[in-house]
Symmetry: C2
Subunit: 352 residues, 2 copies
């Protein structure tokens, strides 16, 4: 257990914890008393068919989806019961930093997260079908996994800026993010007392995000204001670097390892076409046009393998970090337009 006040109710709440008990992992071993942190919005209706699951992205928490949710939005809590669920390792759910042995946390996979979320959804709430699963980035990986693993349960799905099977390019990118941390002598094979001992590595980690997380055009047009700052220096040293420096290095590494290996074809002995062919949900695949590591063409190649799907490209000069919603209405109105249309499709449109 490493003390890190970043991961607190104050910063990321309100959220609740659900104890899954001893949770068996795909790669072997288990997490004793594995806890999922989640935030809910709205009420579950009597027929229990208005639930929406929203899984989190790399380094993000349920709090990050607050701008996606609201009365005027597609994710409308007066209509839907929205459950934003924190992935294992993100610092709110059971994670290296809050486990008894932070440097020896077991490998967790996207499939583990989705099974854990299924347990929460079914045990705690008695939900048997989901109106929608929607998530961005690693949230998209989990969305795909939900749709493939539980095809009868997921009525609609919208992976934003992410893939069903992680690409080799993306694996290498994630590797550089990990190396930025593990190359810091302060990381010490995960045996540090405080994340501040890994400040240099976390800073380099942020610097790589600065290159790949945005777009070349974001920099050409000097769009720092989308992140509430006035200069490039503030964007890097006042926003990105301190953001990642608050986080726990082992948490980031656990999520990165999982991200690298996201692959729904693990459900079908490596056959991606078969895995994606299993999806029954009506699905909108929503890549971001300027994304440097989940480019639309990679997402489109997968979309074409999904029976009842459409490609809906989101436009954001902020590239992958468009998902932070810094563009406000410009971004969220696009998301809402597509999600409203998706939510309006009849369950009868589902592949039977």
């Amino acid at each position: 257990m490493i003390n890190n006040t970043f991961y607190s109710q104050e910063n990321h709440g309100p959220y609740e914890l659900y104890d899954l008990g001893d949770f068996e992992l795909e790669d072997g071993g288990k997490i004793p008393d594995c806890k999922l942190a989640y935030s809910t919005y709205g009420e579950l209706n009597e027929t229990k068919d208005n639930a929406i699951v929203v899984p989190t992205w790399f380094s993000g928490t349920s709090k990050d989806y607050e701008t996606y949710i609201g009365e005027g939005r597609a994710l409308n809590p007066t209509k839907y019961f929205i459950i934003a669920i924190n992935q294992i390792g993100n610092g709110l759910s059971t994670s290296p930093h809050n486990s008894p042995t932070p440097s020896d946390f077991p490998n967790v996979r996207i499939g583990d997260d989705v099974r854990a979320q299924y347990q929460l959804i079914t045990e705690k709430f008695g939900i048997k079908e989901l109106a929608l699963v929607v998530g961005a980035s690693m949230g998209a990986q989990q969305t795909y996994e939900w749709a493939v693993r539980y095809p009868d349960m997921v009525n609609r799905a919208a992976p934003i800026a992410g893939t069903a099977k992680n690409t080799q390019h993306d694996f290498l990118f994630t590797k550089t993010l990990m190396e930025a941390i593990t190359s810091d002598p302060g990381w010490n094979e995960g045996n540090y007392q405080s994340n501040t001992e890994v400040a240099d590595g976390l800073k380099r980690h942020a610097d790589i995000w600065a290159v790949m997380g945005l777009s070349t055009e974001f920099y050409q047009q000097e769009k720092w204001k989308l992140f509430g700052v006035e200069t490039l220096d503030e964007f890097i040293s006042g926003f990105l670097q301190p953001l990642f420096q608050m986080m726990d290095p082992n948490n980031l590494l656990a999520m990165a390892w999982k991200w690298q290996r996201g692959d729904v074809s693990r459900n079908t002995n490596g056959n991606l076409q078969e895995a994606l062919g299993r999806i029954k949900a009506k699905m909108f695949v929503m890549p971001i046009d300027e994304d440097m590591f989940f480019p639309p063409r990679d997402c489109e190649a997968e979309q074409k393998l999904i029976p009842n799907s459409e490609l809906r490209v989101i436009y954001s000069i902020a590239g992958h970090f468009g998902l932070f919603g810094g563009e406000g209405a410009y971004y969220h109105d696009q998301i809402d337009k597509h999600l409203n249309e998706l939510l309006a499709t009849s369950v009868a449109d589902k592949v039977l």
Copy 2:
């Protein structure tokens, strides 16, 4: 002086050295007995108007241009006198590793390289005009600098996959390349005895190149064979990593620092439009379509400020590393087509 057999006549020759004497630098200080390494192909004609200057890219040497030069090519040594000149810091010309104080090498700028090359061209060969300056990547930066600084001397110019003014995104990318090296305790502020002491940092440096140097589609289509290897692992651990691990860390840092600050508007008090407006050469601006850090749109924005210029996009799934010419005829035929057309333009087409 650090012993490094990578930088040898055997590996990169034949090349010759020209001693510039004490060479004054733009940022102050000087390099005593500064030497430029260069390779020539063909013969200088009597009117001395058939010379072509080809400056090198980051980490590259004059040897890398061998595939660009030949009887069947635009850079035809039976017609032209081609001088491939190694940039200062690249390991063949005067560089940190072959200087008396490797960890204390002065800052060198693109403008210094071009002034040094001018001295070589005029003093050694008595050349007063250049039929063409062509170079890729940092070679393009030098090409732009040549055209802006010596507009009357440069008749034609072709910057391939590079910019006149380095972008902020590119600066940040280069920063991650540098941090990969400087974060290695073996680098020790430049005070190492052998590049092997910085093997980890050089490996991480290569890993970042793997992400940004190619394209997402290169990985999707598994195009390793373009680099003569059969698998992804061979591409990374058998090609990219050992390539950079042979190099000198301080050399790479000197070039990276220079690359970050490439900017022809230093000639015009920061006014890029004025600087590019000075160009008299007929110029073909030749970005690579899949380049992740010198994207065509960045190059096109500059091209539009250049009086007698055209945008000629080169297609390569290898992205920036297309310049290695791994695609053989597919790549070189494109380059030749454009360069042949450019070389066929009359000097009368030059802006007067």
